[in-house]
Amino acid sequence: MTQTATISQEQVITGNQSAAWGAFLARTQVVAAYPITPQTSVIETLAELTSRSPGRCKFLNVESEHSAMAACVAASTAGARVFTATSSQGLLLMHEMLHWAGGGRLPVVMVNVNRATAPGWNIWSDQNDSLSQRDTGWVQLYCESAQEVLDTVIQAYLLAEELLVPTMVIQDAFVLSHTAESVEIPSQELVDQFLPEQRFAPFSLDVGNPSAFGGLLGMDQYQEVRKKLHESLRAAMPLSARIESEWKSLTGRHYGMLEPYRCEDADVVLMTMGTASSTSREVIDRLRNKGINAGRIKVKMFRPFPAAELRDLLRGKSKVVVLDRNCSYGSDGILFTELKSALYHLPEKEKPELYGFIAGLGGRDITPVLIHSIMNEALQNPPGTESVWIK
């Protein structure tokens, strides 16, 4: 790895290394993290990068992920730009502190490497760890490539600091976190131009004007303050559009919080999150070659959930096929459920038939064959009321 360059450079790096580069270029000031497979190399890489610039970043050794997030909360309250990364059990251990960062309106940025949850121990990918944190007041952004991870981490700071909401950048274990691909690393100058210095929030800790934080909030005020959090999260979708267009003007890269692929004239639309989005592009092309009007939408932003935008994209389609690499046990695939809820408000004649499939838990590969088979399943059969578990 080379020193920060004044011009962008191309390197072959993993998703984890990309995440570290993103945090480094964003001039993260405080890092508090605890190692867990498959996150470890994020922090290792970041440590290596920052070690070449003494004084640029403070690393805190902590004894657990709960403390890692607690330290991030504290540093962020003090006005520092902070970063951490975790995965699976680590994220679950943070749960209480995730609420604290959300309710505390702290622009913490965290990378979560999607890994299945124990028991049975399993270090491979699925999305249950992060999706089970969806109600903690964090923005959640699911990436499909190393380049997207790098770009998204930098963008996340702008988003988080503008809205005063914490933001989680999410990538699949191993297939993304540990897979090296060609990544363009933007220059520090470019990132500095895009991302200004951390502004102190109006409620940052200020020793000259001391305040108590996180104290009692009575029943006459709690709900109103929480409503402000909800409204700020809802503003993330339009703000993201602005941020992305700015990023595009500097780098030429744009992802979209929802990425439709060949959807305009599609009759049947596949819904994916994470790396399955890349795999499915191939399948859509093949179906198109067979004369089937298929399309695909990648849901990058899961929180806030872009319900209105999805209604517009899916209005009038005949079939929508949801691939969930997760399950809300006792309910259904999580994206499937959310989408069903969003589409409910479409007029009856514009409502697509909805198919749900649960696949790829515990790191099982989501192959083109698998995606092809669920598309066929949806094309040939009437929809069921629940997600179908397929191998």
Binding site: G103, F213, G214, V225
Partner: protein
């Protein structure tokens, strides 16, 4: 957003901050109304101070030593104690026996600290601060420790003081009774020098009843203080006791210290178990005698200080316990030994001492060329008895005798018997004189009272031990080996170094005494404790009575009480 008496009122949702945070202070929230208990600061009496006869404010001087304020510490000691360098050597230090540090590394070396400060005061030529002369003269009879102490405190109070004494030098039993290996002459001389520097006058070779009379002294002064000691040795009441080779212990010690060595011969029998007996035995040992102590009870009952007994045993003094002389053996006009009878111990008397009883028929004889009687003393002066009216008026706290302007102190009152007791008695007599002359209520000022400490003793159980760790007592000062020390009269025990004394001062708990450690202020969850001019004040309107301060006070200087509800 409005602010009403310190409270913030939000008028709309827009007023609300995005997070739960304080926008103003909570001074409006007067939590003081919640309490039913309240804390109060009250220093207690440290057990060492309660145990000190001389009235040293030990905790205060330990604090000053710890802060490196040695001169202030020494000056403070001098204000309460005329002989710190001497007491730092000869006092049996009851203060240490009751020290709360005992269980956590050993009692504090208080006596060593006192000695250090006493030596410091000598080196620096420090004097106590005395009130300006009030031109009233007090005559003290007797330049022993009690008389000297009375004169010292009277001078501090502003009196012109003259001491008369039958001897040709001051000090009384301090020089004639205590051997130099326990109290070097130089140290004593320096301490007595202080009296001269304070302007206390001495008239020597002036025995009351011979060179002068009580009436004459009364005519010359506003008050007279008798510190005449006891002066008459108890007798054995056995045949042969009057033989010239049977001598009195106190007389012997005095002759030895004057350099008049009246004895010849090798084997010595010392009779008695008090400090005088031990001092005689150890002094004669240093002159090359073979010395045996005969005592009618066992070692446990010996009134001598434990250290003296231990050191005497180390040096080779023999002990024949549970023996009582019945006859002095005389052959051809010479004393050759003693006949003794074996004793046994019966039940304890009402003072807790076992009663000795003879074992009939157990008589035996021992050889001795010299017999020393060290049996204790009784009041000697013939004139003193009617004045002191033994068992009568003088035993009131006011130290007043049957003659109103004549007061008494020290051994002649029969209280105590150590130098520290003499100091206390001298202070009481000085206060009594002052009360009499000024026509005010008798009151003995003590150091703790001056700093408003209560008389309640600070007990270890009341402390927060989390703030103290086990720290071991400073190494004992160097003690010369028995073989080495019995060859001469040089001092047995060395001094603690300044570093060690500082270590001991830091180790001292400062029982029951606020040291402004700030724990109470720091831990108060309502910020209801403020520090002003080195003192703490509890803000009544905010203290909610949680008692965290009481709990976190390491040394029990804060206490709780119920809030009295005003109806």
């Amino acid at each position: 957003m409005k602010i009403d008496s310190g409270k913030i009122l939000f008028e709309s949702e827009d007023d609300l901050p995005p997070v739960a945070m304080s926008l103003a202070n909570t001074a409006w929230n007067q939590t003081g109304s919640w309490k039913y208990l309240e804390p109060y600061y009250q220093d207690l009496t440290p057990p060492c101070v309660a145990g000190c006869q001389a009235g040293n404010d030990i905790v205060t001087f330990m604090r000053l030593i710890e802060e490196g304020r040695l001169e202030e510490a020494a000056r403070g000691v001098l204000q309460n104690n005329p002989f710190p360098a001497s007491l730092g050597r000869v006092c049996p230090h009851p203060c240490e026996n009751v020290c709360n540090r005992k269980e956590m590394g050993g009692e504090i070396a208080i006596q060593s600290a006192e000695r250090f400060l006493g030596d410091y005061a000598i080196r620096q030529g420090l004097l106590p601060s005395c009130a300006p002369s009030n031109s009233k003269r007090v005559i003290v009879v007797g330049a022993g420790p009690a008389g000297l102490a009375a004169a010292y405190f009277l001078r501090i109070l502003g009196y012109d003081v003259t001491i008369i004494d039958s001897e040709d030098r001051p000090g009384g039993l301090l020089w004639s009774g205590i051997p130099p290996y326990r109290l070097p002459r130089k140290v004593l001389e320096h301490e007595i020098q202080r009296f001269h520097k304070m302007g206390i006058g001495f008239e020597f070779n002036t025995r009351l009843g011979e060179k002068t009379t009580l009436d004459e002294l009364r005519s010359r002064s506003a008050a007279v203080v008798l510190g005449i000691g006891l002066g008459r040795s108890r007798t054995l009441g056995v045949p042969g006791e009057d033989h010239p080779q049977v001598i009195d212990g106190i007389h012997l010690l005095k002759q030895l210290h004057l350099g008049k060595y009246p004895v010849t011969g090798g084997r010595v029998a010392v009779i008695g178990g008090g400090n005088t007996a031990l001092d005689c035995a150890r002094s004669l040992l240093r002159h090359g005698h073979d010395v045996t102590i005969y005592y009618r009870r066992s070692l446990n009952e010996m009134p001598a200080f434990d250290e003296e007994i231990k050191e005497a045993l180390e040096e080779g003094v023999k002990f024949e316990i549970l023996t009582l002389p019945t006859r002095v053996l005389i052959e051809d006009g010479k004393c050759t030994g003693l006949e003794l009878i074996r004793m046994t111990l019966l039940d304890k008397d009402d003072k807790g001492r076992a009663i000795p009883a003879r074992i009939e028929g157990s008589e035996f004889t021992v050889n001795a060329d010299l017999v020393v009687k060290a049996l204790g003393e009784t009041l000697a002066n013939d004139f003193a008895s009617p004045v002191l009216s033994e068992g009568g008026a003088v035993r009131t706290a006011e130290c007043q005798t049957a003659i109103p302007e004549v007061f008494a102190c020290g051994d002649c009152l029969g209280n105590g018997g150590t130098v520290a007791h003499a100091v206390r008695s001298g202070r009481e007599a000085a206060s009594a004189v002052d009360a009499f002359v000024q026509g005010i209520k008798f009151h003995v000022p003590d150091a703790l009272e001056q700093r408003k400490a209560s008389q309640e003793i600070a007990e270890f159980d009341q402390f927060n031990r989390n703030y103290f760790s086990v720290e071991y007592r400073a190494f004992s000062p160097v003690i010369r080996s028995p073989k080495e020390r019995k060859a001469d009269f040089s001092e047995i025990q060395g001094s603690l170094s300044e570093a060690r004394v500082l270590q001991e001062a830091a180790r001292c708990f400062k029982c029951g005494t606020c040291t402004q450690c700030d724990n109470c202020r720091i831990y108060c969850p309502d910020a209801a404790i403020v520090r002003q001019n080195g003192k703490y004040r509890v803000l009544d309107q905010y203290c909610k009575g949680c008692m965290v301060c009481v709990e976190e006070c390491p040394r029990s200087a804060i206490h709780l009480r119920k809030v009295e509800v005003q109806l």
